[in-house]
């Protein structure tokens, strides 16, 4: 199975694991992205994620197809949340299942890096001092892009 979606509800990473789990797979790799309290040295209070949802879902579908070809992945589920998120909320989760651990782990890494480079989703950060700013990873400094 392969599934990717942009959602507006909370993400349950356990549900993604259950979705890809099967006796034929000996490995499930899970990535969970969460809202961090500091970015680029500024204290963050929350984020608004927005997206060009139609294109985001078609890019995610393309990434799924590439993951299947590149890693022979058995099952994969991806959810990315948009809307207002608070600290610690899950913004993205990826579960990749394969007979063996290496392709599962490499697939998950591939998917998150592709999401970060090409899926049209944006985040507006809100800071403790009341300011707000659109995050632009192309001008990131420090640890922001790592």
């Amino acid at each position: 199975m392969k599934r990717a979606a942009v959602v507006t509800r909370p993400i349950d990473p356990g549900a993604l694991i259950a979705e890809v789990q099967s006796p034929e797979f000996g490995a499930i790799s899970l990535f969970v992205g969460t809202v961090r309290d500091v970015n680029d040295g500024r204290s963050v209070t929350g984020l608004d994620y927005s997206g060009y949802v139609a294109m985001a879902e078609s890019e995610l579908a393309a990434i799924l197809d590439e993951a299947a070809v590149n890693f022979g992945i058995g099952a994969i589920a991806i959810e990315h949340r948009i809307g207002a998120l608070t600290l610690g909320d899950v913004s993205v989760a990826i579960a990749s299942a394969h007979a063996h651990r290496r392709p599962a782990i490499e697939c998950t890494r591939f998917v998150i890096e592709e999401i970060k480079s090409r899926v049209p989703i944006w985040k507006l950060e809100h800071y403790v001092d009341g300011a707000r700013e659109w995050v632009d990873p192309t001008r990131a400094v420090g640890d922001a892009a790592v």
Partner: protein, 79 residues
């Protein structure tokens, strides 16, 4: 006319989430970008922003057809 979708920082810079730009046969992505950057607030966009045609990233020399779904894509920040 071409309807151009804008998002995030670009929508704020141009003051709205859609633009109407006159369409002429032979218009390419780079021509569209020039037209947008000439609008009030348009200089906030870089000279070569990413543009999507029919939900796929398009090269600067790609021809735009009447009725295409067009969007200008700010630097993405998902994850």
């Amino acid at each position: 006319m071409m309807t151009v979708q804008l998002f995030a920082s670009y929508a704020e810079a141009l003051g709205g989430s859609t633009l109407q730009i006159p369409y002429e046969n032979g218009t390419r992505v780079a021509d569209l970008v020039r037209s947008i950057r000439a609008l009030p607030g348009g200089r906030s966009l870089p000279p070569s922003p990413r543009v999507a045609i029919n939900r796929k990233f398009a090269a600067a020399d790609q021809l735009i057809r009447n009725g295409d779904e067009i969007a200008v894509i700010p630097p993405v920040a998902g994850g």
